[in-house]
């Protein structure tokens, strides 16, 4: 589904602090599978996610989404693709404070201008399915870490994207909550959702739900399991 070939990414290119975060990455991510990027902190996992998820462009190399080269597209198109294809769960969750859980979930759909009632119903059922029915109207800053993550997952799914991208999903969770996350992941895999996540948490990397693990180090792939 997604093909990355020879992708390199430099930060501060041409300046004295030029830094190559990705040094030639080639990989394939299959549809309806759960793929994990694994590696120590600083190995370039997040950077690779931003490029695959159309949040950033590679310095060189190509990214193909369903046979279509998306690495050179202007921002407008990237936003379009991002909106329709990817849902993000950020490491810090990045919910908007002061708004209710429900409002946060509905947010990505606002610019699409769909029917508001239908959107609300969809957001409610997503929250319900993640066990947050009773927290719909609560402001997100009042929620616990696990609840916040589930709101973030619901938000990532509201536009029904093909690919769910999650950066270090268990980094802020204890073991019990991490296991709950894996349960959610299993449900998503069952529904046939493509999932791409990063982690250096053995609990995640060794979980049965992960179909393939890509090991990274210093901006390069060092192994695929």
């Amino acid at each position: 589904m997604i093909e990355v070939s020879e992708v390199r990414k430099a930060f501060n290119q041409g300046r004295h602090n030029e830094y190559w975060a990705l040094k030639g990455i080639s990989l394939t991510i299959e549809a309806k599978k759960v793929t994990a990027l694994c590696g120590p902190s600083g190995s370039g996992k997040t950077t690779l996610l931003t490029i695959i998820g159309c949040l950033a462009r590679p310095t060189s190399g190509r990214v193909r989404l369903k046979e279509r080269d998306i690495s050179g597209l202007p921002e407008r198109f990237l936003t379009d693709i991002r909106r329709s294809t990817f849902g993000f769960v950020f490491q810090q969750f990045n919910l908007i404070k002061g708004l209710s859980a429900l409002d946060n979930v509905m947010l990505p759909a606002y610019p699409l201008g769909g029917d508001w009632r239908a959107l609300r119903a969809r957001a409610e059922s997503l929250l319900d399915s993640l066990g947050l029915a009773h927290r719909r109207e609560a402001r997100v800053e009042w929620l616990s870490g696990g609840e916040q993550q589930r709101v973030a997952i619901a938000r990532a799914l509201v536009n029904d994207p093909e690919v769910l991208i999650a950066d270090e999903p268990t980094a802020n969770l204890d073991t019990a909550l991490s296991k709950e996350f894996l349960a959610i992941l299993e449900a998503l895999a069952e529904q046939g959702r493509t999932v791409l996540l990063t982690s250096h948490d053995p609990l995640v990397v060794e979980a049965a739900v992960i179909d393939s693990v890509i090991d990274m180090r210093d901006g390069q792939i060092v192994g695929i399991r």
């Binding site: 949040l55 708004l99 606002y110 699409l112 201008g113």
Partner: protein, 381 residues
């Protein structure tokens, strides 16, 4: 089209929720903003209405007033002048006027004593007076009451109030006392034949200047005052007063501009983060800007409407009490103004342009800068 509407609805919806989150900041902003619009609109509405009012008053005043000058000062017209003017072509009517000022120790105010013109509707019989509405209010006079004035020579005169003048144009009639010619001459000890000035009615406005020239040769010690010049003087007085108020206000306006600019343009770290999040979850730069535009537009429109309505009520219902000391004040008895409501579309547009527009720009510029940054920043806490 339907999607577009749904989209704007959703954006406004979110904007409102977003505004509510920063209640204190936005309410404070709204308040200060409303106040500024209120002050500016009050000045504009007030001076505009005042100008119209003065215009209306002068419409009925004579085209030419002839005064006599002695040593450069206004003096009485001695007997014989009316006859000397004789027949100047174009003059329809000529009349001597009698008026004077009287200081009332009770109210510590000056009244204008005046003899109505023979053809005026308000004729006053001997022993009676008609008084202005403000004065009647202040002295508690109703028709039928008797009031006494001590003349400058020390004699006491009593008059019966026959009527209170309608306060249609209270601006000029507030301190007015109308009395008969005989009473006037007795009260001020003015011998027969003397007048304060002479008024001339001229039918053709083009002839006014000609007549003025003829008057100057005929009566070298006289000074003709033309209505058109008075109008111009009024106009410049109003402009001047309006200017003073605006200058006084400009400090406040400047402070507001800085305040608004800072509030609007200084994006907090939290807001920047939010913009990043919105972009990362699929909002386009344009969507973010639109949302922020609605935010600015809602605040400034609300402020504009509230401020303007408040100013309207202030000027036309509450007699502009904030401005009385600055903008009026040529009579000690402040008239209780009921200015005719008068809204000038051009003024509204100007005010709108100078308040709503800069604010909208001030909100959008920084958003635009923040919104075009790369969305990948949110990935890193």
């Amino acid at each position: 089209m339907k999607t577009w509407i749904e989209k704007q609805k959703a954006l406004i919806d979110f904007t409102l929720a977003s505004l509510a989150r920063r209640k204190i900041k936005n309410l404070g902003l709204l308040l200060v903003y409303t106040l500024i619009v209120f002050l500016l609109a009050s000045v504009m509405l007030f001076t505009h209405a005042l100008r119209k009012e003065a215009g209306k008053v002068l419409e009925n005043s004579p085209e030419v007033i002839v005064q006599r000058l002695v040593a450069g000062r206004h003096d009485l017209i001695p007997p014989g002048y009316l006859e000397k003017i004789g027949r100047i072509r174009g003059v329809q009517k000529k009349e001597g006027r009698l008026w004077g000022y009287y200081y009332d120790g009770v109210l510590k105010a000056n009244y204008t004593f005046m003899v109505p013109q023979p053809d005026a509707l308000m004729a006053v019989e001997s022993g009676k007076i008609a008084v202005g509405a403000t004065m009647a209010r202040m002295r508690g006079l109703v028709p039928g009451n008797t009031i006494s004035f001590r003349s400058y020579s020390g004699k006491l005169f009593s008059f019966e109030v026959s009527s209170v003048l309608p306060n249609k144009s209270e601006l000029v009639s507030a301190d007015l006392v109308l009395l008969s010619e005989a009473d006037f001459r007795a009260f001020f000890e003015l011998p027969p034949g003397y007048y304060n000035d002479i008024v001339l009615s001229v039918a053709n406005p083009l002839e006014v200047r000609n007549i003025a020239t003829k008057l100057s040769t005929l009566l070298p010690d006289s000074r003709p005052i033309l209505r058109e010049e008075v109008l111009r003087t009024y106009e410049s007085i109003f402009n001047w007063r309006e200017g003073i108020v605006l200058v006084l206000l400009s400090g406040a306006i400047l402070a507001f501009a800085i305040f608004a600019w800072e509030k609007a343009s200084g994006l907090s770290a939290e807001e920047k983060r939010e913009i990043g999040i919105l972009k990362a979850i699929g909002w386009e730069t344009g969507d973010v800007i639109k949302m922020k535009f609605w935010e600015g537009a809602l605040v400034s429109l609300a402020a504009f409407l509230l401020g303007y309505i408040a100013a309207y009520l202030h000027v036309f219902r509450f007699s502009s009490w904030l401005f009385e000391p600055v903008l009026k004040g040529w009579a000690v008895l402040y008239p209780r103004f009921e200015l005719t409501p008068e809204v000038d579309g051009f003024q509204v547009a100007t005010l709108f342009l100078f308040t709503v527009f800069p604010y909208a720009v001030a909100t959008i510029v920084p958003i635009w800068r923040a919104a075009i940054t790369d969305p990948d920043a949110v990935m890193r806490g």
